[in-house]
Symmetry: C2
Subunit: 216 residues, 2 copies
DNA sequence: CAACCGAATGAATGGTTATTCATTTTTATG
DNA sequence: CATAAAAATGAATAACCATTCATTCGGTTG
């Protein structure tokens, strides 16, 4: 009877430690989306993963550390995806910005399970310095990179009035707000539509580059 | 010894029921901001209010109902504030929009305690239909009113390219995203700055009305 | 195949928390 | 002032939950 779970799960004991951690983190994301952060229990998470109750402490020492790693997981996924774009030498500035927007509204990112996780953690940043510092660090990293792209694009057109810092702040806030729409009005706001709204804003700043390019 | 709290609190027993409920809701907001939704307990809330543990069930029947009323409280405060502006006959369309933006970034609204509450509940909407329906209803009410204002403003200038629905969606998302900045980067983003970013967007759509009006 | 060791299990534990309700305190009434 | 009604209290309860760790399991090695 005992210990049949991991096997029936297609996840043998010999799998690398990292893979089991990932499995638990993904179960945590599902549970937070399904039950809310405030009623996500260890029993929920381990059952969702098809594993036993003691497994979390084996791999994460405590529930709190599992939650922190979960935030870090979605935060890393996001920053790493964007960094790949920033470092892609086959893309020019305009293409990088377009790729950035595409990424912001891509399947993997605007998955409602993950959006629920983002908002749940944001709601707790005020009381958990660790959450806040994870958020603060990805925010500033992305802002630096994105601002740089806007600086470059500014040089490539008649954009003397454009303020790259302002555009970065505005685009980022807009994108976060559209995530909220995707989370709480799933019937009213489709991903493509959200992306079009973001493009609409960029077109106001860089019309020579982004006007009539809402399709992609 | 017993029952000295309410008195020492300056809140006599004879106060209207509604006032005690409000006191408890405000204590709940403080606790959610201080400890996070997931570790806000009845003991925390009642202690914060200077009352006894049994008081919540007397006035709200359960913790869950207290939380729902807390969401309704901040949601009502927001919609009622905006409705006052919409119904103010002394304001023309332009002034109403300006008043709307001022309100969105006013002290009472961008209080970080309340912002933490908004995000905490947003993070739980996927799992709690009641939260979702409260959010959905205020969102659509405000969108209707704000879109109407943009329609009117469009008629007052050379704005044939402006899409009022799109502008409403974009402004609303932007405003929500700026709230996030105010919550998680309190050192980096000041209220006046957030408001300036919002004005910057509106100026792109209605330059005749909102250019160089970032001060107020 | 036997012996070993890391991985996983899950019953047991102890601490926490929402809820209840008999009792006490305060206010209103005649 | 006496009495009743309403409001508030907080000790007690029962349910829940994170964590522990002795035990079991499965893969590996010689």
């Amino acid at each position: 009877m005992a210990a049949v779970n991991a096997k029936s799960n297609g996840t043998p004991r010999s799998m690398p430690k990292q893979a089991r951690r990932k499995q638990l983190i993904q179960a945590t994301i599902k549970c937070i989306a399904k039950n809310g952060l405030s009623s996500t229990t260890m029993a929920d998470v381990t059952q969702q993963a098809g594993l036993s109750i003691g497994i979390v402490n084996l791999h994460f020492q405590s529930k709190e550390k599992l939650l922190i790693e979960t935030l870090r997981y979605i935060s890393d996924e996001y920053t790493e995806g964007l960094n790949k774009i920033y470092n892609d030498k086959s893309l020019n500035t305009e293409k990088k910005i377009l790729a950035h927007i595409n990424f912001d509204f891509s399947r993997a990112i605007i998955d409602r399970n993950k959006l629920a996780v983002w908002f749940a953690f944001w709601g707790e940043t005020k009381s958990r310095p660790t959450y806040l510092s994870i958020c603060a660090s990805y925010v500033s990293e992305i802002a630096n990179n994105l601002t740089r792209l806007f600086v470059l694009l500014k040089q490539q057109g008649d954009y003397s009035d454009v303020n790259p810092d302002l555009v970065c702040t505005c685009y980022t806030a807009l994108s976060d707000g559209l995530w909220l729409d995707l989370l709480i009005t799933p019937k009213g706001m489709k991903p493509a539509q959200a992306q079009a709204v973001a493009m609409h804003y960029l077109a106001t700043q860089f019309p020579e580059h982004f006007k009539n390019k809402t399709e992609h």
